[in-house]
Subunit: 476 residues, 2 copies
């Protein structure tokens, strides 16, 4: 620390939005350069601007106040007329379940998904408009966060805003699972690879105030039963741990030290475990944190630039020839009869649900899912090793991509390497569809590419798609 | 028709947003008055403004242009390098599934839910940014719509915007089910009353262009199979009907004629099948349509004001005493031993999943769901007829409400009418949470009210909640 107090938010007040956007754009250009990309190629030209806008929008909670939301949304509502009990504006539990939110992980700057359940017990003959529970939760979700901290902030903001008898917040959070250093994404291929959240790191956290705390735990039980009605099962002995380990898979990694340069104001790495280009990238991410109104020297953010860069480096542009050598070596596995791939005795073979991770070049956000590959081979031939197909998928996934190109590159490479007729289906969830403006949480994308017989014979294509449908059956 | 061409959109260009909002606010005040409500009471004070803002926001598609969305989001993307087939920016099918949208029914002005699936086949070596498929669909969803028309507009806008080889759009739509004239909401109590969309009117529509049309139907089959992977089953023989009946349950009802008054410009009913207050309400809704930039004299909108008012009139404030007479008559069904409702031999009885519809007084939008009622009665006593409890729920549902008050009123009425100790749980989906700003499609709300033993004995409360949980099990 440089001893001075943190002034980023105050500095930001003096800048206009386009100046802040420009700062982030410049930093993103450094990141693209570090990835070996040409930031002037057409697909990337507007990426810095898109990323800057998305980050500003995704952290707009720093510029919102809970009192503006709650104000004017507290309605007078009677409690019981007579008798002993709790109801309405005095004592009647109110719960809103299944609010889909997303937030940014403060440890690695990647978005994480949140399902938020909020309850409160009205007091003082007034209730809060129901949608405001969601809006208040979103103010804190739209910041750099850790799940427990998010739950605590939502809880205490609602408690202070509504002055109720008590507030309860339960969050289910899902974080992208990331390979450890030195491991590749392929190490996850043994997982069930159906699309969905089951492959994500998940955590349950809760926070409560007032009557939900120890003295009156039966209201907590009521709250949990109301969640159970919607299929949300919170373990009974799930307790708030005081020193919870950070859930982000990056948090356990080695963190290089960096500091703010006294004269230039730049954030520089002090140690030099990485090359000069990564060092520039790390400084760029620290500058982004600063532009978002955060303090890059805040304890929880010290490792963030390094973590985010480490994630990005999985998608560094690399030399095609070196990588493809591996595939060529594998080719002898196929029998010599491989040339007659067009004759009628050929069998269709398929490898389904090959998992992949990739990075959307338009938004610098991950997309991930599964690849299904079908091909024809002569009946006597050995089939292509699944591990080779996994390598091809992995190779084309690990770069800045768009799904349409990924699909085409896989179909072309499998065809040219093995001389077979191929069909490829890629199914993916795009984090940019979830975390940015449109926030379409359940949406998923599918793309198809076909070569040879699959393009001319609708029956062959339909047969392969049918085999995918049989195995996949509702990828949620 | 008054012979002049329709000028609403042009007129609107000359007004500023606050003038338009004011027009709608004034019309909403007429509606509240017609419902017998005091628009100055605290819960309703800001309702006209809220409704005006929500309607403007919910119909913002009239003020958006597809070219602004598509522009700059078409990216160059190669097709196949060599070989025969389809892939990438030339021929490779791209599908985005499960886009949650909502729209307004042009026949009754109530919101309807949409799950949108879009596919297209790129041509000319370019692809559209994936999120734009959702954004374009939303431009047309945010207008007064009919499902088939919505599908057709999305399809043709994408076709013209992307110039692809073809576009396919499948929509699943859900419309609120409304009782016929003279029937009450109670007639639906025989339905499975679990919360969810199964009680809604649903329809499947599709639209397609280019290669998805007849000459090359196998791509249509590919598209449907990709939907099937996400559990969306479109019937094979589902065909576009040329003269599809309107799906809105109101459309079959008698439509009174109204016209634009030549000198005042007001919309007035010509016939007089309803009273003067309803007549004013109908004119007010016609004025709202005009303020939204629509032509109230457009063929499809002629019945809309009448339909919307008819829906609203289900929630007219009415005299409590007359209605409650029915409950009093029912009381003799209970045995005389009813007084000792506190002793240990009492049995807990419950009536679960009583369906209800209500109207949110903050947004003039429906909320609906189920009520669970538990009570203690002496072991020899007859239990309370479910039909009486249904009547109580129905009575308190059919007015402008908030869920917290509904819950309290049910608990108080059951207790005072039958002298029993009662617990009430209300679970609801609020259309205002789905269709307005926060658009939390999966959210649901639960409220609890307890009287007597249920408030002092956590075990009794937990036992009742447990019985609800056992029956309800994941109300999706």
């Amino acid at each position: 620390m440089d001893g001075g107090c943190f002034v980023s938010e105050r500095e930001n007040l003096l800048k206009n939005e386009s100046e802040i956007t420009k700062e982030i754009e410049d930093a993103v250009k450094v990141l693209l350069q570090g990835l070996g990309e040409d930031s002037n190629r057409e697909g990337l030209m507007k990426t810095p601007l898109r990323v800057a806008k998305a980050l500003r929008h995704g952290t707009r909670g720093y510029r919102q106040e809970v009192k503006d939301i709650v104000q004017g949304a507290l309605f007078p509502e009677a409690g019981l007329d007579s008798g002993v009990g709790q109801a309405g504006g005095a004592g009647g539990l109110v719960v809103v379940r299944d609010l889909d939110l997303f937030s940014y992980c403060e440890s690695c700057l990647l978005p994480f998904q949140v399902k938020c359940h909020v309850g409160y017990i009205p007091s003082g003959q007034r209730v809060l408009g129901l949608s405001k529970l969601s809006r208040v939760a979103d103010v804190f979700a739209k910041r750099l966060q850790d799940p427990q901290h998010l739950a605590d902030e939502v809880c205490s903001a609602l408690h202070n805003g509504i002055k109720p008898a008590g507030v309860a917040v339960v969050l289910q959070c899902w974080h992208i699972r990331i390979p450890e250093v030195g491991q590749s994404f392929l190490d996850h291929s043994h997982h069930s690879a159906k699309m969905g959240l089951q492959d994500w790191l998940s955590t349950f956290v809760y926070s409560c105030s007032g009557v939900f705390e120890n003295e009156n735990r039966d209201v907590w039980g009521d709250f949990l039963t109301l969640l159970k009605l919607k299929g949300v099962e919170v373990e009974k002995n799930h307790t708030q741990t005081t020193a919870k380990l950070c859930w982000c898979p990056f948090s356990s990694l080695d963190v290089p030290v960096f500091n703010k340069h006294q004269s230039t104001g730049d954030y520089c790495r002090v140690s030099s475990m990485t090359g000069p280009s990564q060092s520039a990238m790390i400084s760029a991410v620290a500058a982004i944190l600063h532009s978002l109104g955060e303090d890059p020297l805040r304890k929880e953010l010290l490792g963030t630039p390094h973590h985010f860069v480490q994630w990005l480096m999985n998608f560094k542009k690399c030399n095609l020839e070196i990588k493809l050598n591996g595939f060529k070596l594998a080719k002898p596995n196929m029998s010599e009869g491989n040339g007659n791939a067009g004759c009628n005795q050929d069998e269709m073979k398929s490898e389904l649900n090959i998992p992949f991770w990739s990075q959307c070049e338009h938004h610098l956000l991950p997309f991930h899912g599964v690849v299904h590959i079908g091909y024809f081979h002569a009946s006597g031939d050995k089939s292509i090793d699944r591990s080779i197909l996994e390598s091809i998928v992995h190779f084309y996934g690990c770069k800045l991509q768009v799904q349409e190109r990924l699909t085409r590159q896989i179909v072309e490479t499998v065809s040219s390497t093995f001389g077979v007729e191929v069909m490829v289906v890629v199914e993916a969830n795009h984090i940019c569809m979830i975390s940015r403006g449109i926030e379409k949480v359940r949406s998923s994308t599918a793309t198809i590419a076909v070569l040879g017989r699959f393009s001319s014979d609708p029956t062959a294509k339909a047969m392969f798609l049918q085999s995918v449908a049989e195995i996949t059956a509702f990828g949620e």
